[in-house]
Amino acid sequence: MFGYEFYIDPERCIGCQACINACAECDTHRGVPMITVDFLDRANSIATVPAICMHCDDPTCAEVCPADAIKKGEDGVVQSALKPRCVACNNCVLACPFGIPKMMTKLELMMKCDMCYDRTSVGKRPMCATVCPSQALAYVTPETIARERREKPVNVFRFGNETVTTKVFMMVPPGETAVTVDVVDFMWETPETPETWR
C-alpha cells in the first residue's frame, strides 16, 4: 500500500510502551491497545519486543475461524474479526503462531492489530510506527530501510517444519534468510518429571 512496508526491529525496542498508548488512542478501539510489548526474559534482561500482527500470507487465524469472521483484503492486510460473525471461540487465539489475536471476553469478540487500516489504507502510517522513538516499529519504503539499516528484513518464519511468510518484515542480522523459532526453547516450564523416574 502506497509503497510502504512494516518493519519490526526488536533490537531497537527500548520498552517505552509509546506504541501501546498510541494504539489505545485510536477511535476504532478506544482504550484497548492492539499491540503488546513483551519482555523476552524478564528475570535476566530488560530486552523487550513489540508484537504486532504479522499479516501472514496464509493467515492461520482466518483458516481456523469456524465463523468466517477473519478476512484478508486484497492489500494483504488480515482484518480483525467481524463483530456480527465472531463467536468468541478462541480458535484464532490458539492457532496464531505469533500469539497476536486477543479475546475480548466482555465483547465476545476477537480483536487484533489490523495495521491501523483506517490510516494505512489512505496512505498514513500506523499509530505505533508514528510514535516509536527508536523506530523499532518502522513503516517506511524498502529503499529507506535498505539505506538506513545494517540489518536485513526477512518475512520468512520457520516453526519446526512449518514455514510462514508474512507481510510484515522482521529485521535480522545480515546473512540470515529466515527467523527460525523452536517453540520448545521458549517454554518457561521445566519438564515435570518425578525424581524417581530419573
Partner: protein, 164 residues
C-alpha cells in the same frame, strides 16, 4: 493438482471472494430501489401535470353503406400506429373501439354470433356495445372511438379512454 474442497471456496479467507449478499448490501439495495421507485412515481406525477389533453383530428373512416349489419371494419386512429375496429351491430347502431386489448395489447376481433370482442391471446372478452370487460384478464374497458355521422360518411372525432 488436488482441488480444494467446496467449504474452502465458500468460506474463503479473502474478503474479495465473499459471494453472499451481506446485510449491509441488502439494506443498501432496499434503500436504493425504494428511492428509485419514489423518484419514478414523482416523475409520473409531474409528467401527468405537464401533459395537456390531446387534440384529436377529424378523420373520415368509412361510408355508411360500406359495412353490413354484423360486419366490421379496421382502421387506424388517431395515428397510423393505433389500430381500431368499427362494428355495425344494428341498422343504426355503430361503435368503434381501439383494437388493442387492455391486457397485453393483442388485437381484439369481433364475434358476430355472441356480439362481443374476443382477444385470442388470453381469452379476454369485451362487450361490442360499450367495450366493457365481460371476462378474462383485462381490467379496463376498450378505449372508445367517438364517431360522428355527416350524411352517409362516418368520421372519428376523438378517443374516450374510459376512466378519465
Amino acid at each position: 493438482m488436488k482441488r480444494d474442497p467446496l467449504w474452502r471456496e465458500e468460506l474463503s479467507i479473502f474478503s474479495a471472494d465473499e459471494k453472499y449478499v451481506n446485510r449491509r448490501q441488502f439494506a443498501k439495495f432496499l434503500v436504493l430501489t425504494s428511492a428509485g421507485m419514489f423518484v419514478g412515481n414523482l416523475w409520473i406525477l409531474v409528467k401527468g401535470w405537464l401533459t395537456k389533453t390531446p387534440v384529436y383530428p377529424l378523420r373520415s373512416i368509412a361510408k355508411l353503406g360500406e359495412i353490413p349489419i354484423g360486419g366490421s371494419k379496421l382502421f387506424n386512429y388517431p395515428t397510423a400506429a393505433d389500430p381500431c375496429i368499427l362494428v355495425r351491430t344494428g341498422e343504426t347502431e355503430l361503435a368503434a373501439f381501439s383494437q388493442k386489448c387492455t391486457h397485453l395489447s393483442c388485437s381484439v376481433y369481433y364475434q358476430r354470433e355472441s356480439n362481443r370482442f374476443e382477444c385470442p391471446c388470453h381469452q379476454g372478452y369485451f362487450a361490442a356495445k360499450d367495450g366493457r370487460v365481460l371476462q378474462g384478464p383485462p381490467q379496463r374497458p376498450l378505449p372508445r372511438i367517438l364517431l360522428q355521422q355527416k350524411g352517409d360518411e362516418l368520421f372519428a372525432v376523438g378517443v374516450d379512454l374510459g376512466e378519465a
